[in-house]
Amino acid sequence: MPSASALRIQIENALERRFPSALTPQPRTIRETSSTGIPEVDQLLDGGLPVGAISEITGPVSSGRTSLALAFLAQRTSEDRVCAWIDASDSFDSESAAANGVALKQLLWVRCKNPLPGPQSSARPNFSRLDFPRPDLSRPDFSCLAQALRATDLLLQAGGFAALVLDLGSTAPEHAAKVPLATWFRFRQAADRTRCSLLVLAQEPLAQSSAAVVLECAPLTAQSANQTVLSGCSYQVRTGRQSSPTKTLSIAGRRKPPSVEWSAASASQREASA
């Protein structure tokens, strides 16, 4: 009677043309991770956010997405690495970043500008005589979203950045969803090649299968001190998608993704504790 391994080899040989290595489990790639700086989230992600991959942090406004991203950047910049924040809606607050421990000197901030012609546009000099290439601000492809995607592309291709945050948190989901999947696929390839963690802050998942991790954030409660001071907020984070989880999920786990709660303090509490 043939042994199980012999049978396996026999079956695999028979199916080799259609299904190569049909019965041999694929070797698992253990991806390098980097701590987010929040122990609860690190525990949820088995170590932190993946390096060289796309991670999406999704949720509505006031769900703790930005705080989570800043905590991650604080960890990366504390290791003497350089990071970048691509700000599609110009909403980055440098004071919050500094308070969270981000080394601002090691942070490149790209503030995408509003393409809508403002009152300053009339003051622009007249270039009609010159044939220099310059962006046509009236064109829709130079919107903030397009600028942010272009900047992300450039920074990923340049290499050397430990983390890039593509902040689409204030971009309408219907606009962000128009980003073609090929773009995310290209970003994934570039992030993998340059060992860069690309964090996408958005209201809804965008990168689909190109994202290694999708974190869904939600607000829980706000804490106050003596009903006079907002002392902090607690948030819930759950994994919406994780391409290579190290733990095998149970049946119950598949029905309900694991989630954790974490808290962030307000400025007043930090000052009081200091």
Binding site: V61, D93, E95, K105, R111, L130, A265
Partner: protein, 503 residues
Amino acid sequence: MSPNLYACAHAEEFPAQALLRMRTDLTSQPVAILDGRPPLETVCSLNRLARLKGAALGMTRLEAESIPGLHLLARSLETEAAARAVFLECAAHFSPRIESVNHETTCACVLDITGTERLFGPPELLAQRLRDALASSSLRASVAVSTNFHAACMKAATTRGITVIPLGHEAVALSRLSLAALNLPTDHAETFAIWGIRTLAELAALPESDLVARLGPQARDWRNLARGVLPHTFQPIEAGFSLQEFCAFETPVEQIDSLLFIGARMIDCLATRAATHALSLASLAVQMQLEGGHAYQRTIRPALATIDRKFLLKLLQLEIAAHPPQSAVLSLTLSAQAGQSSKVQLGLFAPQTPEPSRLDVTIARLRAIAGEDRVGSPVLEDSHRPGSFRMESFAIANSSSTYKPVESSSALPRMALRRIRPPAPVRVQLNALKPAAFRDREQSFKVSAAYGPWRTSGCWWSTEAWNREEWDVLAESSNGASVACLLVHNCTRNRWQLEAFYD
């Protein structure tokens, strides 16, 4: 003691050579240079092809224009000055003692090459290397070597290629030269012509005492010149090292491609000159003279000094594209500041950082996309004004000087703000002096909790004064979403604004 040895490098038709040095597209074309006030311009210099076409010195513009295929350019003294600097710089590689003997349309210098045989070999080899060095800078020159200063000058001015005059053979070497080589005054030149003296050999053969008796004491010098024995006190100049290139256009340039075509050639020359001194280009200043009398000036500062031509050209292109000139360009000047060649010591365990030169190009591209002042590192201002910051150019700091955050990793994260720039005006409904509801342009919010007010004010002495009340507000929007936001009441203008969301 060995006699002094001089090498004279002589570049004729220098106005044409200086202009064609930057205009590589015209090097194979007949070109004549016009000088003078319009419309009385005359040809002051021309290249060999123009001569073959029938052009000659002194032609008027009308006569020159009648020659088909002849390119006419206006003389540019700035371009010639830049080319002369390059000429002297090339010569300075062979000797520190140089005397300039420029004339109206020629560029010439004499090098004291005494004792340089062990460095550069015999005089023939040195002359060849000097000529090659000039040719690499697109300057064509003849070189003559002699123990007599004036003999070297006259031979280089009248003979093409390389000539080495052996010691004691100066008179023979100069014998066939025309008297014009002495640049005699017109009346004396006519006297010699009446006497039938046409060559230097004929002048050298005249008796000195009789010559002085008829033409004066200066005739002794002419005779000594013709014999190649006139002594000379060498007056060396300081060969300055300034990295500057200039090009004036005959017609105003409106195309960036045309500008970059010249710019590429200039960068190439600057990088080559810096490399010969074992230096790199630390910064590049771009100056343009524009139509209408305007001036344009920008400075490119790469993160590391470099001589990478493609990289510098890309930075130049992005800089001009980001800051296009207001009108057409009449002339272009590139001035570079030399710096030490960059050396980066990489560490095996050091974290990966962007490559500086590539990062420069990336940031320049980002600035072209987002705007000049919208790419960089944020720096917090030393002010109590909420949200005040300034942008600084992003540079990779050394690990030793890197700012280390005070907070430890175990500290609790802080609620981050997402700013709304500019703040959105809102209508606020108050209840017991606290916000109870507010409405922006899109939706309305019902306040569930409001913490405040936090009053701040400052700069009351200036126009940038602020006086405001901040409220941390927990609210529920009309579509059921809970938000935490920062409402600000501008006490000066009595206006409410939604300034940020906690996120």
